[in-house]
């Protein structure tokens, strides 16, 4: 169980990136964080990953506070961030340095098999395509068996076919160890394809705006009536979140005055 209570983050320059976030995610649930740019999605993930310190509030994983990188939390960045001087296999095994060699090799080869890159184990990252690199990056996070896996727009730089393929790989890995997954995305289709619940965020400061449950059976069919209805619901919530709470004319007037 991942619990976030009253989490706020104000940067040194006074930007309020997050304000009073409350969220709890039971084990093995997949939650999609969705919202326009600048609503603090990435900040939230970085706080959960322990890369940044919260200004207020707390994050707990099974009752244990998180303030620095935690062995139970894995993170897949927006870019693959593979270490260019390590082979694909060594990149996947990067976080397993303490394990005995044989066990490390076994886990790495299993993870590579699950993402369909077994035959590329000995190659350099530069020899892989963008989609393959991101698969390596996902395998690197999974191989450490995290209880919570965070993904920060991991597929945003990829084309639609590759993305669909990677959704399959991600769900296959999830089925195997069933971690909690928090995935940041700005792609509604992605949220509907993966998540049990979509959480819509609102910018300035970043807050949780709405939650849309997605109780659809897996595997999901992107063209079924259920998924289309869910997509419409999320789009409507997104639209609402991007519209300011104040009456539109209040904000629109000064903007229009400066427009020319």
């Amino acid at each position: 169980m991942l619990t976030i209570e009253g989490l706020s983050k104000t940067y040194a320059d006074g930007t309020r990136a997050l304000d009073g976030i409350d969220l709890s995610v039971p084990q093995a649930e997949i939650v999609a964080l969705i919202g326009g740019s600048g609503c603090g999605k990435t900040t939230l993930l970085r706080l959960v990953a322990g890369l940044d310190r919260a200004s207020a509030g707390r994050i707990q994983l099974d009752g244990e506070g998180i303030a620095s990188p935690h062995p139970g939390v894995g993170l897949v960045f927006q870019e693959p961030r593979l270490l260019p001087w390590l082979s694909v296999a060594d990149n996947v095994g990067f976080g397993l340095a303490e394990l005995p060699k044989a066990e490390r090799a076994a886990r790495v080869s299993h993870a590579l098999e699950r993402v369909g890159l077994s035959e590329h184990a000995g190659r350099w990252p530069r020899e892989l395509s963008g989609g393959q690199q991101q698969r390596v990056s996902i395998a690197r996070a999974f191989v450490a068996n995290p209880r919570v896996l965070l993904l920060d727009e991991p597929f945003s730089a990829l084309d639609a076919f590759t993305r669909k393929d990677l959704h399959g790989h991600l769900l296959a890995l999830w089925e195997e160890v069933r971690p909690t997954i928090l995935i940041v995305t700005h792609d509604v289709g992605e949220a509907v394809a993966l998540a049990d619940r979509a959480v819509v965020m609102r910018p300035k400061p970043g807050r949780l705006d709405d939650t849309i449950p997605l109780p659809l059976p897996r595997p999901r069919n992107p063209t079924s009536a259920q998924t289309e209805a869910a997509t419409r619901k999320i789009l409507a919530a997104l639209d609402k979140s991007l519209r300011p709470k104040q009456s539109v004319s209040d904000i629109a007037e000064p903007q229009n005055a400066n427009w020319w």
């Binding site: 990953a49 270490l83 001087w85 990067f94 976080g95 340095a97």
Partner: protein, 284 residues
């Protein structure tokens, strides 16, 4: 192949001597061809000069012909003198490079990783770097005498600065994103340095070392010109004093070969370390 028989005779015979046909062999130049092409100019100059001197067009006293330079070089090698001088020069460069590069890497790593050390040391070092290294020569001679110590010190100073700048700069430009990967996997400070920082700065460090080695050869000449009884630089001075242009040129050629060999050795030794690099080198 059937078309030419239908075409008028003039058009078939024209292309071989015409302009368009010239571009074809140029495009097909293989690696060997390129090497031959690069040797064309120096060889033509050498042969031309040789002929000019042989036929009496030029005197060749101040600029001896290649055959004479070759003979001098051979004589120096045969008598064993050349090895003596090469050895003296190489020992100085090796010692100076070892001291200068070690200090450069150590201090560069210090200022690159510790802000306190950076604020404390970097401004002073940058100011010292602005001093032309040769300006230290009189002081070094005064302090350290005229034997090997001031020479090695001068070379070490010359090697130190490019290595220092290279290493400190490489550390400063390590990708924060890769460091974060290390943080996510909870690497300790030393593990982070060993597993991420070190490999990341390696390529730039090697470039700095190559620059440093080149400067080492620059400064060994300067040091030996100041006063030495052996070394390739001594051959230069000796050649000047006794108007032996062939000896000067022989020493210059020896320098060129040594410098190139030392650089090639450094590159060959370190190539396996940077095999992973995704650079344009292989396509250039």
């Amino acid at each position: 192949m059937t078309a030419p028989t239908l075409a008028p005779q003039v058009e078939i015979s024209a292309p071989p001597s015409g302009g368009p046909a010239l571009t074809q062999p140029r495009a097909r130049l293989a690696a060997g061809g390129r090497v031959a092409l690069s040797l064309l100019l120096p060889l033509a100059l050498a042969i031309g000069w040789e002929l000019a001197v042989r036929t009496g067009f030029a005197q060749g006293r101040l600029m001896p012909p290649p055959s004479q330079i070759g003979a001098t070089l051979y004589a120096l090698a045969a008598s064993g003198d050349l090895w003596l001088h090469v050895q003296a020069t190489l020992v100085r460069v090796a010692l100076g490079f070892a001291f200068g590069a070690t200090a450069g890497i150590a201090v560069g790593a210090l200022t690159g990783t510790l802000p306190l050390a950076r604020h404390l040391l970097d401004p002073t070092l940058q100011a010292l770097r602005a001093v032309p290294s040769l300006a230290w020569v009189p002081l070094f001679i005064l302090w350290l005498g005229i034997l090997e110590t001031p020479k090695v010190t001068l070379i070490a100073v010359g090697v130190f600065f490019p290595v220092y700048i290279g290493v400190a700069g490489a550390i400063a430009s390590v990708d924060r994103k890769l460091v974060e990967v290390g943080r996510i996997f909870r690497l300790s400070k030393t593990a982070l340095a060993r597993r991420i920082l070190l490999p990341a700065i390696l390529p730039a460090t090697l470039v700095a070392l190559r620059t440093g080695l080149g400067l080492g050869f620059l400064f060994v000449v300067a040091a030996e010109l100041m006063g030495a009884s052996e070394g390739l630089g001594y051959l230069l001075v000796d050649g000047q004093q006794f108007s032996k242009a062939d000896q000067i040129l022989a020493a210059i050629i020896a320098f060129a070969c040594l410098g190139k060999l030392a650089d090639a050795l450094l590159v060959a030794l370190t190539r396996p370390l940077t095999r992973w690099q995704d650079t344009a080198r292989e396509t250039l």
